[in-house]
Symmetry: C2
């Protein structure tokens, strides 16, 4: 049976991408060699890296000050690499959950950190709205979508300093003026591809200003100078990112993704708001269109509900271990049919309960 994959990440990719990835394991770009076994210095692979970088820039409409890199270590490594490269004396962070908290923790080696606001008081079920961003900060860091809690920033604030954004779980999912940012980063394993590659889009003009000596691999300028190939890149992951971004482009770009994602989220949130057996966890204005979190109004129904969605071929619906309940992740590649299957299960539970 075809599975409906609601995993929060690593997560579903388009069927075409799976097919293309498999074909390239046999024969990459007509070389007769597997994509797993081709030199990253071959002209065929260099073309993959260049295309993956160019497509990200094109899809987001980034201006020429931006350089796109595919690095390793996930967002967790960026939590460290960002202050290494950008923090002179002080940075401002918005605390919207676990991942924001981890990013804040890594700044302590580099200077003063000001947390401008936090939604910890209500288990991160909303996005703080009223706060001041200090004009003397080197940057202001936000997490645009909070995978664990299911919140999303639907408005990016005005900022007197460059905005650095962790977009790991909503990149390429909705239109934004991406040129408003100073640095955008995202682990690949939600909307972009398999785990193992991390997109970093950084404004060149922000670099080289800390006065700090930066170890070679930590310095964005190292990777910019070498076209994101200073050392062997996570070659297969970047290849699948390229395939996925080609798919996004063929579908109509970020605008088309946004329309589909809105339709999927509406379908599920409407059911959660209507069906008395379910309680969505996040304040309405801050609900994520990527990760929909909810609980049962009667925990006694859990066993029955779990059996029903599993029988329907659904996987990955369990909430993050720190939150519990349920989480349905509706990333770009998830078809609306999968959401319909989930909504049907919810309605069936209501009829039978």
């Amino acid at each position: 049976m075809k599975k409906h994959n609601f995993y929060a990440g690593p997560s579903i990719l388009p069927d075409e991408v799976y097919r293309q990835a498999k074909a390239a394991i046999d024969d990459f770009a007509g070389t007769g060699v597997s994509v797993l076994s081709v030199s990253h210095r071959s002209k065929e692979y260099v073309a993959v890296m260049e295309k993956a970088r160019a497509l990200a820039k094109e899809l987001m409409g980034l201006d020429d000050d931006f350089e796109v890199l595919y690095l390793q270590g996930g967002a967790s490594m960026q939590f460290l690499q960002i202050p290494y490269n950008l923090m002179r004396t002080k940075a401002a962070y918005l605390d919207t959950g676990t991942w924001a908290g981890k990013a804040i923790k890594e700044t302590r080696y580099f200077g003063q950190t000001e947390v401008v606001a936090s939604s910890a008081d209500r288990q991160y079920r909303y996005i703080p709205k009223d706060y001041d961003i200090p004009a003397d900060a080197d940057y202001f860091h936000i997490t645009t979508n909070n995978t664990i809690y299911g919140t999303q920033m639907h408005n990016i604030p005005e900022s007197p300093v460059p905005i650095v954004a962790d977009m790991s779980s909503d990149i390429f999912s909705r239109r934004m003026d991406f040129n408003r940012f100073g640095l955008i980063y995202a682990g690949a394993q939600k909307n972009m591809g398999p785990a193992g590659a991390t997109l970093v889009a950084v404004r060149k003009s922000l670099l080289g200003k800390t006065g700090r000596e930066i170890p070679t691999m930590m310095d964005y300028r190292t990777h910019i100078a070498k076209g994101s190939m200073f050392n062997t890149p996570p070659a297969f992951s970047v290849f699948v990112v390229m395939l996925t971004l080609e798919w996004v482009k063929r579908q109509g770009g970020i605008k088309a993704m946004e329309e589909r994602n809105e339709a999927k989220a509406r379908l599920l949130y409407d059911e959660l708001d209507r069906n008395p057996l379910f309680v969505p966890l996040v304040d309405k204005p801050d609900r994520s269109r990527m990760n929909v979190t909810f609980v049962l109004s009667d925990e006694g129904l859990q066993e029955r509900f779990d059996r029903m969605w599993q029988d329907a071929g659904i996987v990955g619906l369990k909430g993050h271990r720190s939150v519990g309940g349920y989480r349905a992740s509706l990333y770009n590649a998830l078809p609306i049919e999968s959401v319909r299957v989930l909504v049907d299960v919810m309605r069936e539970l209501e009829r039978k309960a």
Copy 2:
């Protein structure tokens, strides 16, 4: 036509591994979900990580002080992470080429570095033999195989301090007393799997002694505490590493790999020593069984030789851009038949020249 893949890395993997990897893109471990799209917290994936860690330990016969991790960033990130974790005041390094030099460069942020010997005087065509390792160093760093130059350390020196070894291009290729080391690391993309994962086998008893605050992602203890899953691992790369190590074990372990690699290397070096048209680059006692470097005695034959090996279905024979000439990489998964094809081409060139 089937290609004979002599790439220096990423490089050839066993045919069975390609088949298993493709099958898992369709259906991973009977989950009905692609290995590219399964949660790293699923029990099926956790089992992959555990098996990949356990197999490395088993194949190398490591004692219980060792922890095996699969990290990101390649050996280049380890050049930084090693002194971060192990260097208090001073470290000793053996300079056997470009990669050793890059490792040395990253120590400058952490303390004093003593280069005990270097083979730079003769373009790194040999391994230095007579040197003293300072007893007050925190560790002594070596590169067991030098991919670019084609040299290999066939004897590991006695050392008064823990030995840290970059085994990127010869791990799992030959027997050694691996318990003599304090830390062993290797990018996956030669003998272990695709790019994107880096094996680190580290003695727990060496950690936590620098008095230095270590950023979370840089601290080996972070990854040890979380079973190499502190954050999303390079899931597919580690999966293919597991498949490759299972293959090594089925073939008879490192001993069987060593026997095959010796046979392949002998076949090629014998031809290089016999055939007057070719000149091997490395001193006999230090020749690598993994990367065989050579030049033509008459450069005027280059065009003809290049056409001949390409026509024979050989790829990846060009030397590293910093050295020139030719390099044949004979990693574990390369069949001896591919070496025979290359030797036949060399003999044919001799007949026709």
